[in-house]
């Protein structure tokens, strides 16, 4: 019998959430005041959850490792947020958003969760606009939309190329409002290092004050992990430098199952690696694929500059292979196609590991439209290009500027060079319909959970999910648990469980500091990243994954014998922070490879070379793998696999085709 109960409500798909909301037990306002909730992380999921729960009357403590909650990496999301508003009158609906998301996720997500996500998507836009989030607007004053990969309607709301920033600052302002009212206590520059368990329930955390280095105990009736994804296991990714898996991993080791750890999204449009010094990779928003055309030379190892290659000698390979969706195929498909061309010898740039993203056609097209708007008759080619550049600048200016600063090239004049990079992790802590992990009282929201994106996330859906979880799901579902807990008084933090949890953290810190080895934390992190990228990256096979597991074990051994952490424990010590995070990545990496080994099919971002169609597309195996792989930690890097079968009642899995 499976230990997994997804708690999906009975009844037809479209009424599950409405019915759930009407029947879930409530906590009365007086009782809310004496219930404490800990929120770890202050990104879209964390800030929105902390603010919303405080508005309801709960006592909230919110933690983030950055110097301010406004820095969380949600801030870097560029392109937009999806919502089924159908403001464009182009046939969008909750059902279509649900359908696109399930299909885009290659049929490895729960239908009920995804439907709920689509259902609340419109409320998110309403809420954000009310907060003063300055979304892009049309001249009539109404909200503007654009299209994104994997869809055929325009349902993406955006604020230039800084949508994540504006949404996060909206959630941050809601959070700070509660901080000002005294209903949320904010702990910035604090890192959660352990979950405190009492009688089988999550009852608090041990956090390290990163300035003083001191450990602190915090009680909560419930603990919410909103700590983002684990893409930094690859060292090079589009994640922020501090993004880490530590909170989720500590929870995993306390009994929370980890769902689909191998589901990693490799984003197709990033600036290519320029050398060994590279510390992170920079994403160029997927929205650029709306207007940009992706190509490589038809001739192998073509030494000519992009502008010298005539039109007929260019291979617009996405348009060629996928005429229906063209440059707007989902991310996993676009990434693999780029890798395929580069591996075959058609790559461009000094490293030959890049493809062109070309704006020349879009500039001309916009220039013509603009000339018509301005009533210019027979404008010169130069005038058209000038006008077109202005339009492109308004739409994507910040992205183009960023590209120019990083590469030293002008993207208005020469095509950009792009290559896929690790961007998002669909896997994460397994949660039920209520967003609770397998540990009672411990929740996971946003990218930290495994839930809604299946094996591949569509563009502009991460912001939607983070805010859906925080604003509109957890405020309801947490009542189901806390209503049973109204008689639990705050547990004093001198309780034995807090003492022993703190000691465990202290022991690990002592152990790290006492290694006094010879190599920096980054040395090990880079090695781990290389193993993961080469063997558990865009393409995976049995042999490589087995090698990776062995190599990670050896590397972990080396780390624990030879890492050097300068400075002291009880002070501001960035190397010690990094060491703890890399130690956890060194365990997670092994689990990711094991999960990838177990899943012998290809699906979404997970491409097993052994499982492909004749024309090189990912080949799913629904008979054997239509399940969520939820891994239980058995200690000492042993895991037991549990399966949550996925039942598709509405959307019937078919071979995903974008042709």
């Amino acid at each position: 019998m499976s230990k997994l109960n997804s708690k999906i409500p009975e009844g037809p798909l479209e009424t599950k959430w409405t019915k759930y909301k009407s029947t879930v037990p409530l906590v009365n306002p007086a009782n809310k005041r004496s219930i404490e909730v800990i929120v770890v992380g202050s990104g879209l999921a964390g800030a929105s959850a902390a603010a919303s729960l405080a508005e309801l009357g709960y006592k909230v403590k919110c933690f983030c490792f950055q110097d301010s909650p406004r820095r969380a990496h949600s801030i870097a999301a560029q392109g937009g947020i999806n919502a089924a508003k159908n403001y464009q009158n182009d046939g969008d609906s909750v059902f279509r958003l649900f359908y696109d998301t399930v299909k885009g996720g290659d049929y490895r997500a729960r239908e009920a969760n995804v439907y709920r996500l689509a259902d609340v998507s419109a409320n998110i836009i309403d809420q954000c606009v009310a907060q003063g989030v300055p979304f892009a607007r049309e001249y009539g004053g109404y909200l503007s939309n654009r299209s994104f990969g994997g869809t055929q309607v325009q349902r993406t709301f955006y604020a230039a190329g800084q949508t994540g920033q504006q949404l996060l600052l909206g959630a941050y302002s809601a959070l700070e409002r509660q901080v000002g009212l005294g209903t949320v206590k904010m702990y910035s520059r604090h890192e959660m290092l352990e979950i405190v368990m009492i009688d089988g329930k999550a009852r608090g955390i041990i956090a390290r004050d990163l300035i003083s280095g001191k450990l602190e105990r915090h009680f909560g009736h419930a603990v919410l992990l909103c700590t983002g994804g684990y893409g930094n296991v690859f060292f090079l990714s589009t994640n922020a430098m501090g993004s880490n898996v530590t909170a989720a991993w500590k929870a995993h080791k306390q009994g929370a199952f980890f769902g689909n750890p191998c589901f990693t999204q490799i984003h197709p449009t990033c600036i290519p690696v320029s050398g060994d010094h590279q510390s992170k990779l920079t994403l160029m928003s997927e929205s650029l694929r709306n207007d940009g055309r992706i190509w490589v030379p038809k001739q192998k190892d073509d030494k000519r500059k992009a502008n010298e290659i005539p039109e007929e000698e260019r291979d617009y390979y996405l348009e060629r292979r996928y005429p229906a969706f063209g440059n707007l195929v989902p991310r996993d498909v676009a990434s693999r196609a780029a890798k395929e061309r580069c591996d075959a010898g058609y790559g461009v740039g000094t490293s030959k590991m890049a493809v062109y993203l070309d704006y020349a056609a879009a500039i001309e097209r916009y220039g013509n439209v603009q000339a018509n708007k301005l009533n210019l008759h027979n404008p010169s080619k130069e005038k058209i290009i000038e006008l077109g550049k202005e339009v492109v600048k308004e739409k994507y200016g910040n992205l183009f500027d960023m590209y120019a600063k990083i590469t030293g090239e002008n993207p208005y004049e020469t095509p950009m060079r792009i290559y896929p990079a690790v961007h998002y992790t669909m896997g994460g802590l397994w949660v039920d319909y209520e967003l609770m992990t397998t540990v009672p009282g411990l929740y996971a929201l946003g990218e930290a959970n495994f839930s809604d994106h299946g094996a591949n996330r569509l563009g502009a859906s991460a912001l939607m999910q983070g805010l859906a979880d925080g604003y509109f799901v957890i405020p309801y579902t947490i009542g189901s648990y806390l209503s049973q807990d109204i008689r639990t008084k705050a547990i004093p933090t001198d309780h034995e469980a807090f003492v022993s949890a703190e000691k465990k953290v202290q022991d690990q810190l002592d152990r790290l500091m006492n290694i006094k080895g010879t190599k920096s934390v980054d040395h090990f992190h880079k090695k781990l990243g290389k193993i993961m990228w080469d063997k558990c990256g865009m393409a995976r096979n049995e042999q490589g994954l087995k090698e990776a597991v062995a190599e990670i074990r050896t590397l972990r051994e080396e780390f624990w014998n030879d890492v050097r952490i300068p400075g002291l424990q009880n002070e501001f010590n960035l190397e010690l922070e990094k060491a703890g995070r890399v130690a956890d990545f060194l365990e997670l990496g092994e689990l990711m490879c094991m999960d990838a080994l177990n899943r012998k099919e290809s699906c979404g971002g997970h491409f097993r070379e052994e499982s492909q169609t004749e024309d090189g597309e990912a080949k799913r195996d629904d008979d054997n793998f239509a399940y969520v792989a939820a891994w239980e930690n058995k200690g000492n890097n042993n895991w037991e696999l549990h399966k949550e079968e996925l039942n598709f009642e509405i959307v019937h899995p078919s071979q995903r085709s974008y042709k």
């Binding site: 603010a51 919303s52 950055q66 110097d67 301010s68 406004r70 820095r71 969380a72 990496h73 801030i75 870097a76 508003k85 836009i125 309403d126 606009v129 009310a130 907060q131 003063g132 989030v133 300055p134 607007r137 001249y139 004053g141 109404y142 909200l143 604020a159 230039a160 800084q162 920033q165 600052l169 302002s173 700070e176 409002r177 901080v179 000002g180 904010m186 910035s188 430098m241 050398g275 010094h277 590279q278 510390s279 992170k280 920079t282 994403l283 500027d401 600063k405 990083i406 590469t407 030293g408 604003y471 405020p475 010879t518 920096s520 980054d522 300068p566 400075g567 002070e571 501001f572 190397e575």
Partner: protein
Amino acid sequence: MEHKNLNLTLKIWRQKNSKEAGNFVSYKVSDISADMSFLEMIDVLNEHLINAGDEPVAFDHDCREGICGMCSMYINGRAHGPWQGTTTCQLHMRAFNDGETITIEPWRAKGFPVIKDLTVDRTAFDRIIASGGFVSVNTGNAKDANNIPVPKDDADKAFAAAACIGCGACVAACKNASAMLFVSAKVSQLALLPQGQIERETRVLNMVSQMDAEGFGSCTNTGACEAECPKEISIENIARLNREYFMANLKKKDYL
């Protein structure tokens, strides 16, 4: 693409913690690729320091794509260094010449005490936002988004102000360590939008009062903040803040 490698002398502010005095220490780095970002260059230095048994330089950084606002170095006398409209993490080494000496300091302002080396405490900014930088709308209150049409011009101006990343360069660049550009950006964003009208007066009064309480200086219209802002937030916002503040004081209920 041009490939050159640089040998540089770095004069870096080292300070153990908020209590002890700090001083400049010089370091040499060699063979720095012009394609590196400024922070990757510091990574190289830190890797050398760790390997040599020394303590690496502590500095704030996170997204490394110019949006989180965490990086905060004062480079050769300029907040975020020589490039216009650029954060330290987006500054690249092609901005420097071989053999150059680069001076690197933390933000210096009473409102931003040093934590260690180049890291400062900017929680004052959070407290200013908490005093009024929001629209009081609880989750679930909102009506359909298109029921609040906003003229595109206003929306664009509000967005331009809202692009502030809260890095504190404006304070660091100002001879008075004034936080007016930061405060004015938030006040402007919300004053320009219909959603912000209801709390328009209390917002500006509370935020300015908190700004003063945090120990930031006054604005004397020098314009250094605008010149050094990595997001090129316009000083026009400060003019708007002054108007908002003046009007709010005039309309204060207890004057009537």
